[in-house]
C-alpha cells in the first residue's frame, strides 16, 4: 500500500514538470511557424471525433480509463478496427486481460471481425497471459519480451495505431514495481519514437484516482474517462475528455452507448441552432387542419400534439405519417407505447392502411418500451434509424412516456436533443405528449417552447359524453386559425368539424348533432311553409284567373249581345224602309188598278 502513495507523489511531480515544459515551449515554437494544433487521428467512433475536433492526438498516447465494464476495451478495439477499415491505418492490440479467442468472440457481436482484419494484414493481436502464480522473480529483469512482441506485431502489419489493454495488469502479474515503471517509461518513449497513436486503457482507481497504478504519469496528452452509472434503475454510460493537451475539446460529460455497430457518443451541445428553415409546407393529412395552419406545417419544423388520454394524439401522428407516405416521402414512427401490429390495427379502425406503407418500405414502425433503455440509447437508436431509413418525417409517440425512463429534467434535455438532431437534418417532427388534468396548456415534458407548432387536443365533457376539441395553440411563422374545431374520428379517417357556439358555450358531439337536426327541422318547416304559401298563391291566382276569365266571358257575352242588338236594329231599319216603300207602292197602285 505504500508503493502507490509514492507513485502518486511522483506522478504529480512529473505532471507539473511536463506542464511547465510545454507551457514554455508552446509560445516560442508557435511564433516560428503557422499555428496548428496537434495532428489528429480520427477514431471513427460516432460523435467522439466531433467532441475532440478530429480524434485522438496522432503519434501520442491517450489514456482511456473507467471502472470495470465501462467500455474501455471496446473503445480501444473500435479505434483499431475503424482505423484499419476506414482510415487505412493498421493497428496492433496487446491484450493483457483477455485471451485472443474471447476478444474475437466478444467484439463479433458489434460487427467487428477481428479475424478477418488479421487475415487481411490490417490488425495484429497479441494476447498476454500473465499468471502471477507461475512467476517467480530471481533478480533483475526487463520487459524486453514485451518490446520484442510489440515490435514484431507492429512490423507485421505496419501499424500506425496501438492499443494496450490493460497494461496495468503487468503490475499485478509481475513483481518489482520499480522495474515495471522504468520499463513503461521506456515503452512510451519507444511508442512515441515510432509515431504510433496509442490508446492505453486503465482501470479507475479508488478515491477518484484515474488509474489504479498511476499509469497516467506516462500519458500527458489526452485522458478520456468512461463511466457507467445507474440512476433510477436506468443505466447511462458517459464519456468525458478530461484533458486534451493542445486542443479544444468538449468538456461535458457526453452520454455514449454501446450499440450493435460500436460506440456512439452523443454530443449534446454540438448541435447548434443553425438549421435551415424551409418555406415549404407539408400536409398534416387532415385538410381542415392544413387550412387552420394556412396550408400545413413547414417542412423540417416540429409539431407537438398534446392532450389528455384518448384524445386522438396518436391518430393525428399516424395521419401525418400516412400523408407523408402518400406523398412518397419516407416516414418513421417511433412508438413508445404500442407495438407496430397494434398500431396498424388501431389505425385501420379509422380507415388508415399503414401496412401498405410498411410493406412498400416507406414507413418504418419502431416500437420500444421507454424503460428498455436510457435516453441516450433512445437517442442513439433514433440516430441509427435516421441513418438507415432516412425519413423525412418522424413521429415520436409519446415522448411523455420517456419520463418513465428517467428524471424529468433529463427527459426535457433528451427531447430537445432529439428535436435538434431532427431539425438539423431538416426532418419534420411530430411528437405527441400526454397532459394531465388542469395543466393542459403546459406539456408534460416542458418542451413546448422548443416546438414550432403546438396542437392541443382536449376532451370536453357535457351531456354525459366526451368530445374531442382541437386548438392550434401556436404555429411559428404562419397565420393560424384561432378557432376551436371538433376533432372526430370516423371509420373513414379523421375530420375536423366546426363547433356550434350557442348560449351555453361550444356545442360538440350529440349536442352538435342535436343542434344540426334542430336547424334542419327548422329549415324543413320553413320550406314547408313556403310551399304552402306558394300553393295558396297559386290557388288564389288560379281563382282570380278563373274570375278574370268569367268576367271576360261575361264581357264577351255582353259584347256579343250588344252586337246582336246593333245588327237587329240595322236590319229592322232596313226592313222598315222596304215596308214603307211597298206601302207607298200599294198606295199608288190602288189608284191605277181600280179601273180594271
Amino acid at each position: 500500500m505504500k508503493a502507490p502513495k509514492k507513485v502518486w507523489g511522483r506522478r504529480d511531480c512529473s505532471g507539473e514538470c511536463c506542464e511547465r515544459m510545454s507551457n514554455t515551449a508552446g509560445p516560442a515554437s508557435a511564433d516560428a511557424r503557422v499555428l496548428t494544433g496537434p495532428e489528429k487521428a480520427p477514431t471513427g467512433i460516432k460523435g467522439f471525433d466531433e467532441i475532440t475536433n478530429g480524434g485522438l492526438p496522432r503519434g501520442r498516447p491517450t489514456l482511456v480509463t473507467g471502472a470495470a465494464g465501462s467500455g474501455k476495451t471496446l473503445f480501444g478495439i473500435e479505434f483499431l478496427v475503424r482505423g484499419a477499415r476506414d482510415f487505412g491505418e493498421p493497428g496492433v492490440l496487446l491484450a493483457f486481460e483477455e485471451a485472443q479467442d474471447d476478444l474475437v468472440t466478444n467484439v463479433a457481436s458489434l460487427g467487428f471481425d477481428l479475424e478477418q482484419l488479421e487475415n487481411d494484414g490490417l490488425l495484429a493481436i497479441d494476447a498476454f497471459r500473465l499468471d502471477p502464480a507461475e512467476i517467480i522473480e530471481t533478480g533483475a529483469f526487463d520487459l524486453e519480451g514485451l518490446f520484442i512482441r510489440l515490435q514484431m506485431a507492429v512490423e507485421s502489419v505496419g501499424a500506425k495505431r496501438v492499443v494496450l489493454d490493460t497494461i496495468e495488469l503487468l503490475f499485478s502479474a509481475l513483481p518489482n514495481e520499480a522495474i515495471i515503471r522504468g520499463e513503461l517509461g521506456r515503452l512510451f518513449r519507444w511508442l512515441k519514437d515510432r509515431d504510433l497513436t496509442v490508446v492505453i486503457t486503465g482501470e479507475r482507481g479508488k478515491l477518484g484516482n484515474l488509474t489504479r497504478f498511476g499509469i497516467e504519469e506516462y500519458v500527458s496528452d489526452c485522458v478520456v474517462t468512461l463511466d457507467h452509472r445507474v440512476e433510477d434503475e436506468i443505466s447511462t454510460r458517459r464519456l468525458r475528455v478530461v484533458k486534451y493537451r493542445g486542443s479544444l475539446h468538449g468538456t461535458n460529460e457526453y452520454p455514449f452507448l454501446i450499440t450493435e455497430k460500436g460506440l456512439v457518443v452523443v454530443p449534446i451541445t454540438s448541435v447548434g441552432l443553425t438549421y435551415e428553415a424551409s418555406n415549404e409546407r407539408v400536409s398534416s393529412g387532415i385538410p381542415r387542419l392544413d387550412e387552420m395552419l394556412s396550408g400545413g406545417v413547414y417542412r423540417g419544423s416540429s409539431v407537438m400534439i398534446s392532450g389528455t388520454a384518448g384524445t386522438g394524439k396518436t391518430s393525428i401522428g399516424a395521419l401525418m405519417a400516412d400523408a407523408s407516405c402518400a406523398r412518397g416521402e419516407k416516414a418513421l414512427f417511433f412508438s413508445f407505447e404500442e407495438s407496430p401490429e397494434q398500431l396498424i390495427r388501431n389505425m385501420a379502425s379509422i380507415g388508415m392502411d399503414l401496412r401498405r406503407w410498411v410493406d412498400s418500405g416507406l414507413l418504418l414502425l419502431e416500437a420500444v418500451r421507454p424503460t428498455a433503455f436510457g435516453f441516450e440509447e433512445h437517442l442513439a437508436m433514433l440516430h441509427r434509424l435516421l441513418d438507415e431509413h432516412e425519413p423525412q418525417l418522424v413521429v415520436l409517440d409519446a415522448v411523455a412516456s420517456l419520463t418513465s425512463a428517467g428524471a424529468r429534467a433529463d427527459t426535457t434535455s433528451a427531447i430537445s436533443r432529439d428535436l435538434d438532431l431532427l431539425k438539423g437534418r431538416g426532418i419534420t417532427t411530430v411528437m405527441t405528449t400526454l397532459t394531465h388534468g388542469e395543466s393542459q396548456e403546459s406539456s408534460e415534458v416542458d418542451v413546448s417552447s422548443l416546438v414550432d407548432t403546438w396542437l392541443l387536443l382536449r376532451n370536453q365533457e357535457s351531456n354525459g359524453e366526451r368530445n374531442r376539441l382541437l386548438f392550434v395553440i401556436k404555429s411559428r411563422g404562419s397565420a393560424h386559425s384561432n378557432q376551436v374545431r371538433e376533432f372526430v374520428l370516423t371509420d373513414d379517417g379523421a375530420e375536423l368539424l366546426d363547433v356550434y357556439v350557442g348560449p351555453n358555450g361550444v356545442l360538440t358531439g350529440s349536442e352538435r348533432i342535436e343542434q344540426i337536426s334542430w336547424e334542419h327541422l327548422a329549415q324543413t318547416t320553413r320550406a314547408d311553409e313556403t310551399e304552402r304559401r306558394r300553393q295558396e298563391l297559386a290557388q288564389r291566382s288560379a281563382a282570380l284567373q278563373a274570375q278574370m276569365a268569367a268576367l271576360q266571358a261575361q264581357l264577351t257575352a255582353e259584347g256579343a249581345e250588344f252586337d246582336r242588338f246593333v245588327a237587329s236594329e240595322a236590319e229592322g231599319r232596313a226592313s222598315g224602309v222596304a215596308v214603307r216603300a211597298s206601302q207607298g207602292r200599294e198606295r199608288s197602285g190602288e189608284q191605277a188598278g181600280g179601273g180594271r
Binding site: 498476454f128 500473465l130 507461475e134 512467476i135 530471481t138 533483475a140 526487463d142 519480451g145 520484442i148
Partner: protein, 123 residues
Amino acid sequence: MSEEKDIAAESEDFTEDINVQGNAPDGQPMYDLRLYVAGQSPRSVRALENLRRVCDEHLAGRYRVEVIDLLVNPALARGDEIVAVPTLVRKLPEPIRKIIGDLSDTDRVLVGLQVRPMGESAQ
C-alpha cells in the same frame, strides 16, 4: 553466443532415459528448461552463468537447457508468454513455472525450480 553454446553443450539429451512419470531412471525428476534472453546483454550473460551454476550444483545429469535468443527468434516469445527477460521456463516437471530475472538469487531459483537441495535428495 559462445556462452550459450557452452551451456547447450553441457545440457544432456535425456529423452531416451526418461520414464513414463517423466523421471530419470533413478526416480529423480528430469528438468526440461528453456532460457529466454535478449542478445548478449550483461544481464543475459549473468543469467546464463547463474543457470549453469545451479544446474551443475543441483541438477547434474538430469536437465536439459534450451537457450533462446529473442533478438534472433522473436516469434518464440509468444509461445511461452514471455514478457520479462531473462525468463527461465521450467517445462518439465509440470506444472510450468516461470523464473524471471538474472537468476542471481539462487535460493529463489531453487524454489522456482522446486529443486530440493542436494543434501535433502541424498537422504
